[in-house]
Symmetry: C2
Subunit: 362 residues, 2 copies
């Protein structure tokens, strides 16, 4: 048997609802594998984010990080909420997430943004601009200004308060994310666009230099460079020009969210964060949506698709991953929609019911 | 007589073409003022950007900066081009622009992004999403990661090369741009959205704290805060929710370009950069477009509208500013279009002809 330990981190808001549904889908997809060899998925649930803060006083308890590290893959729901918004930095749910990413060393965040034919009308972009968009943003996740030191508050020469952060990348940090991105592009349409601000920032100049140098290892990939301000424009002007995008942590935060909104349905979008080795972290890109939490209204598809990424990139169970993705497509084809993607003529369902429909087709 | 000295910096690519046209429009608008008092505009042209590099070896000659400083306002065309793209940092046209902004201390960059009824189809967004969009991005322009120190290249503990920059803001830098933004919002629809990444960055935490503190001085303005990743999404999802946006230098670079592409016609968009006192800097937001330079194809309207901003924000000649804006609207109503905004049923014209048509209606 192939047996895997999966840590579930339901988190806050709608997190528990969508993770519960995704867990059932994962279980079934696993159980249906193994014509030759049995696939066994074992789950443990841990506290993380605001719920961890309330229960233990910290957003990422040591026990949670240790359990995550010891497992084969981690599935996260969502974290955060108004309740903890004004907490000091080390007591913010977001800080727990950054600690988890750093603790698992998952430096490569893969964020697909594809416009599904069934949902092309959900995009605010004109149909001819939106249809066929299929972008993968590869975002560096454990470096740059998110983690750079020095950082903090200080006093300048005039005795005034300052706030400061450091954007810093080393050659090897750039090289390893770039290699991941070239490999990803190779499995897609063979085009990689590296986004930076090399006309202004030294950190970006080094970025561009290293990316350019690595290109000779991937002669089959068409590499281009773009400034981040232009990339933010081009995503709106003609998103179809992009295949794979690679960029730093903060630009990736901004551009991957912009790209996902191009699809019009962020309730559909998964993400995978992986490192050199060790468990990967899989999570929907949407937030904890406290306003609809506990009302069975959340769209579980992003988390279900994150579970598919978990199977593919985390456990190398490609078959089971495909099975889930096909089930999601089929469920959409049958016309089932949660409120966020509802349109007249389709069938409005809640979070649980959407899960049941996916289970039926898995 | 009111007499003003205006420094023209045509720059590179299409810069000289669009500045020449805008100069004529400025002259005429000035000449038509002064029923009571004569308005006199005197122009001097200086080198800047790649053309300055070629002629003098630096992107911003001392003479240019001195002339700009001594004048009442500066009108810039565009800078940059493939030719200088691989120059070392201190020999890049962009570096000259940053030096000019710093030298003139123009810390507040005002970037309107409005969808004109005549050009609503130019947007890639659906008509119902695009029409009526009218956003002003107030971007901090002389601080943050663009200018923060330390910056450069170094070696880390493992002996590897690093590239680094510092994002830093002082209380007074935040306060002065925030005040400008509140004042701008007051003259518009009374809504200000401050964009930051205060869930991660200390520089943003100070930003949010200072902006929040200043709100009590502007009780008539509705203030909100948004994370930059969410703002990048919301601009695509529902740009009409925004009135005035205030943000730091790098986020402003990205978001103002994204906002301008929402309008679909960046050849139409002006910008103004102003300081506490001294001459302001006025420039179209588009680049130097080397591929169409010298072909009389450029759209001069962004530069003409920058000249209107120069009259309004630089010289307090509101009447003349309105006269130019009305002339641009009238010229569009008459159906004249350059290639970038052409659509069937309108009259395709070149840069010069577009200028002549505007002159006729000024
Ligand atoms: C919650 C926040 C810290 C996080 C980030 O900025 O990385 C989020 O925006 C994301 O993209 O996963
Ligand atoms: C040319 C470049 C240095 C500049 C900037 O980043 O500020 C440009 O993108 C702008 O927005 O004016």
């Amino acid at each position: 048997a192939r047996s895997y330990n999966i840590t579930l981190l339901p988190g806050d808001g709608i997190g528990p609802e969508v993770v519960a549904v995704a867990k059932d889908v994962l279980s079934l997809a696993g159980a249906l594998e193994g014509k030759l060899i049995r696939v066994e998925l074992r789950f443990q649930e841990k506290l993380m984010g605001g719920s961890a803060l309330d229960a233990t006083g910290v957003p990422l308890p040591d026990e949670t990080l240790a359990a995550a590290r010891d497992s084969d893959a981690v599935l996260l729901g969502a974290i955060g909420g108004y309740k903890w918004d004004n907490n000091e930095k080390h007591l913010k749910p977001e800080t727990g997430l950054l600690q988890l990413r750093a603790g698992l060393r998952v430096f490569a965040n893969l964020r697909p943004a594809a416009v599904l034919p069934q949902l092309v009308d959900a995009s605010t972009l004109k149909k001819e601009v939106a249809e066929g968009v299929d972008i993968m943003v590869v975002r560096e996740l454990t470096g740059g200004i998110y983690f750079g030191k020095p950082r903090g508050f200080g006093t300048n020469d005039s005795g005034e308060e300052t706030g400061f952060n450091t954007e810093v990348y080393s050659a090897s940090e750039i090289d390893r994310i770039t290699r991941v991105a070239f490999e990803v592009a190779r499995k897609r349409r063979g085009k990689l666009c590296s986004v930076d601000k090399a006309n202004v920032l030294e950190a970006s100049m080094l970025w561009r230099r290293r990316v350019t140098a690595l290109a000779s290892e991937f002669p089959d990939i068409e590499l281009s460079h773009m400034y981040v301000d232009n990339a933010a424009m081009q995503l709106v002007r003609n998103p179809k020009q992009f295949d794979t995008i690679v960029t730093n942590n903060i630009f990736g935060d901004i551009l991957s969210d912009e790209a996902s909104m191009i699809t019009g349905s962020i309730g559909m979008l998964p993400s995978a964060s992986v490192g050199e080795s060790g468990p990967g972290l899989f999570e929907p890109i949407h937030g904890s949506a406290p306003d609809i939490a506990g009302q069975d209204k959340a769209n579980p598809l992003a988390t279900i698709l994150s579970a598919a990424m978990l199977l593919r990139y985390g456990l190398e169970e490609e078959n089971a991953a495909k099975r889930i993705e096909a089930a999601v497509t089929e469920t959409l084809n049958q016309g089932f929609r949660t409120g966020d993607i509802y349109s007249p003529g389709t069938t409005l369902v809640g979070c649980k019911r959407m899960g049941e429909e996916v289970l039926k087709t898995v």
